[in-house]
Symmetry: C2
Subunit: 445 residues, 2 copies
């Protein structure tokens, strides 16, 4: 795909050329092509897309581009595009619109779908209700296999990826599912009740999307019925949505640990990245000054033995790295459900032991290297002791801080890194310079 | 689930009690229960599981437990358990066995399945071949709809989650797919060739699993045919395997950035964590000494103005944090394919601008706070300049280093953090202390 060709067509206002280039592409490739164009070019190209393709493209581009493209078309065009989407996707797009526009659009899309989308908009974005779709095939439990097949036929145009038929009682309460292969193989006059799977797992509409993803993985299912508190069937979640949820949730942890706003993207303009990052960097500055104030206490000691200043970064840096290792392992364990509170004592002990062992190893290595630097054995011993202490602090705080965040129902990844490295900075400087001060006082240094 | 009940049953050798507790559970819940038992207790419980449940449980437990459980049963029992697994899972388990055992087991499982598993074992674990299964329903393109349905019937016992029927020509070359809902709706005498989807995406057997996952997400498919270089159909990948791949790949990035071996788990014994972490910490020690040697160059300056030692950690720490933010955004962009080499110049410029802007902001804040610390304006100016410089270094190295790793086909997440924070440590100390030395020389300090 040579984007230059498309750019030339746009420049020459060659409408046929634009269409020939863009229309044969898969929607996700069109989305990719758009990201390589200037804003004004994007809008020109987008106008050439028929509603059914435009709807797929809108779902593939990033939030900013989507906003820009939507504001470039009329409400009427937007309504056409949204009508082509599945209800869950349409709800997601409408949720991003300003309130007035959202109302106009909801009024515009066909009465039935408007009602469905309105219902979906009530649910939080990251709940089962927020990711479910209302398109599904359902039959009453007294339907026959033949009637069920007819229902599949009737809905097959509107419902993509059917996978399962959902069975409900006459009050709409979820009773079970029948997979399509069972349906193919069953005798036509049988009651669907007799061939359905009644043990199907289900989720209530307020289940967190992270838990939904875990259920999919645990039970190896492809679709999951979503019910309300009375057991009524409201919608279904399909596994392709779960892939996105899994990706989103893990990257969120990643971002939170690095102190990033989860909305930042690599191609964002600098003004946006600056704004999103600044608050966390300012918080970091506060913690950095906390570490600095520890050093300040020992200014006199450093004045006397200036070599200490040379090795301060080694103690703090190694502690920080060991801490990052520990938090990462702990956060991953919590995210995947491998680590639970009842393991806390064991994991804490393990991490402290690992810290101690690595402290001995790297402390010894540090002393040897420091000796090659021509440093006295006394400072070597200080370095050795401070590194062990700080590695133990790293293991301890790297385990305890994410667990505490989790205990208070906060996200364990949430800036764990900043809190933990504050512990290792403060702990590292305090142990290294504090020990040095003691050594000085008793005449060993 | 009260694990104490189970433990008591084991202690009392109450076989019925163990069975009553464990057998009604879902295999993944059994796996979870096992992790809470002592090693010897695990083995006792595992012996009570019928082969079909044992096979699911083996796939749910972690690698160490799996190894332990497998070595607790006879080859004959293991063969029975493996025969219950899908070919891709059986191949994964066998790949973990010592070579001799693997041979015995392969000879043992039924001739046909043994051949299939042997074929799968040839493919790298992280390729399409490594994650595909050979269980699928395929028909020749001259089959009728009726014949295809009969084929589904014949295979429905052995092939879970059929979703699609794969259509091949007489040489076994992949031609297209028919989804089950299409099959239900088609007239029985039609040729499957007329209703199949010929545009189905496919992957060759050596495709990297990360690319496979991207194709699933891009084309929103539930199964993907795997073909060889001649276009022959070898197997299929189902979307539930992709969820695991996505999770695995992202967490690998996470781990690599923190300098962790991707095999480490939160419940590993300390001896293992120690061994896995030590090499990276030693590498880190080397880079920490690099930073220390920069400080050493300026020992004289620190001796004269000891307050510099107090603010060294602020400059280095803020640079490190800004760098971590940049790398995380860049690594995520590369992992998701949002960032490509052609964006490099733009992203580099953006990140440097963000670094500069955040340098001005946090530098100013730092000067104000330093002033409250009672620090002279001259040192304030030094701090301000060094922080801006270091934030720019952070933006530059945080972008360039992952891109260079990617350019050389290495994983961009691979210890990016250690390289980049080395840059900000060295850069931070050099700019802060270097500027201070200049100020001193010209009498401003």
């Amino acid at each position: 795909m040579d984007i230059q060709v498309l750019k030339t067509c746009i420049e020459n206002k060659d409408e046929e050329g634009i269409k020939d280039f863009i229309l044969p592409l898969h929607p996700s490739d069109i989305a990719k092509a758009l990201t390589e164009l200037e804003d004004t070019e994007q809008i020109i190209v987008f106008k050439f897309l028929p509603a059914e393709i435009a709807s797929d493209v809108l779902l593939e581009v990033d939030e900013h581009t989507r906003e820009r493209l939507i504001s470039s078309i009329s409400d009427k065009e937007l309504i056409e595009v949204l009508a082509e989407m599945e209800t869950d996707d349409a709800a997601d797009v409408i949720a991003e619109l300003p309130e007035d526009d959202a109302e106009t659009v909801l009024d515009g899309i066909s009465r039935e779908e408007g009602v469905e989308v309105r219902k979906l908009l009530k649910y939080p974005e990251d709940s089962a209700g927020g990711i479910m779709q209302t398109e599904l095939v359902s039959v009453s439990e007294d339907a026959t296999v033949q009637e069920t097949i007819e229902q599949v036929r009737a809905k097959s145009e509107d419902v993509p990826n059917i996978h399962n038929v959902f069975v409900t009682d006459n009050d709409g309460r979820f009773k079970g599912t029948v997979s399509l292969d069972k349906l193919i193989l069953a005798k036509p006059h049988l009651s669907v009740h007799d061939i359905m799977n009644q043990e199907t797992v289900r989720v209530t509409v307020d289940t967190d999307q992270e838990d939904v993803a875990k259920i999919f993985q645990k039970y190896d299912v492809v679709t999951l019925p979503v019910i309300d508190a009375d057991g009524k069937l409201l919608g279904r979640i399909t596994i392709d949505d779960v892939v996105d949820v899994v990706e989103e949730e893990i990257f969120e942890d990643f971002y939170k640990m690095a102190g990033l706003n989860t909305d930042e993207r690599v191609l964002d303009p600098p003004s946006r990245s600056f704004k999103l990052r600044a608050p966390w960097l300012l918080l970091n500055l506060a913690t950095a000054f906390l570490a600095a104030s520890v050093v300040k206490v020992f200014e006199g000691t450093i004045q006397t033995v200036v070599t200490l200043a040379v090795f301060m970064p080694v103690v703090a840096g190694m502690g920080g790295n060991a801490a990052t290792q520990t938090i990462t392992v702990v956060v991953r364990g919590l995210a995947l459900g491998e680590l639970e509170f009842r393991h806390a004592k064991r994991v804490l002990l393990n991490q402290v032991i690992v810290g101690f062992a690595n402290g001995i190893l790297t402390g010894t290595a540090a002393v040897i290297v420091a000796h090659l630097f021509g440093i006295s054995y006394t400072i070597g011993i200080l370095l050795f002791l401070a590194m062990i202490t700080n590695m133990i602090i790293a293991g301890f705080s790297g385990t305890v801080i994410p667990l505490i965040l989790k205990w208070f129902k906060a996200d364990p990844a949430l800036s764990s890194a900043v809190f933990v490295t504050t512990c290792t900075d403060v702990g590292g400087f305090f142990s290294f310079l504090g020990l040095a001060t003691l050594f000085l006082k008793y005449g060993y240094l």
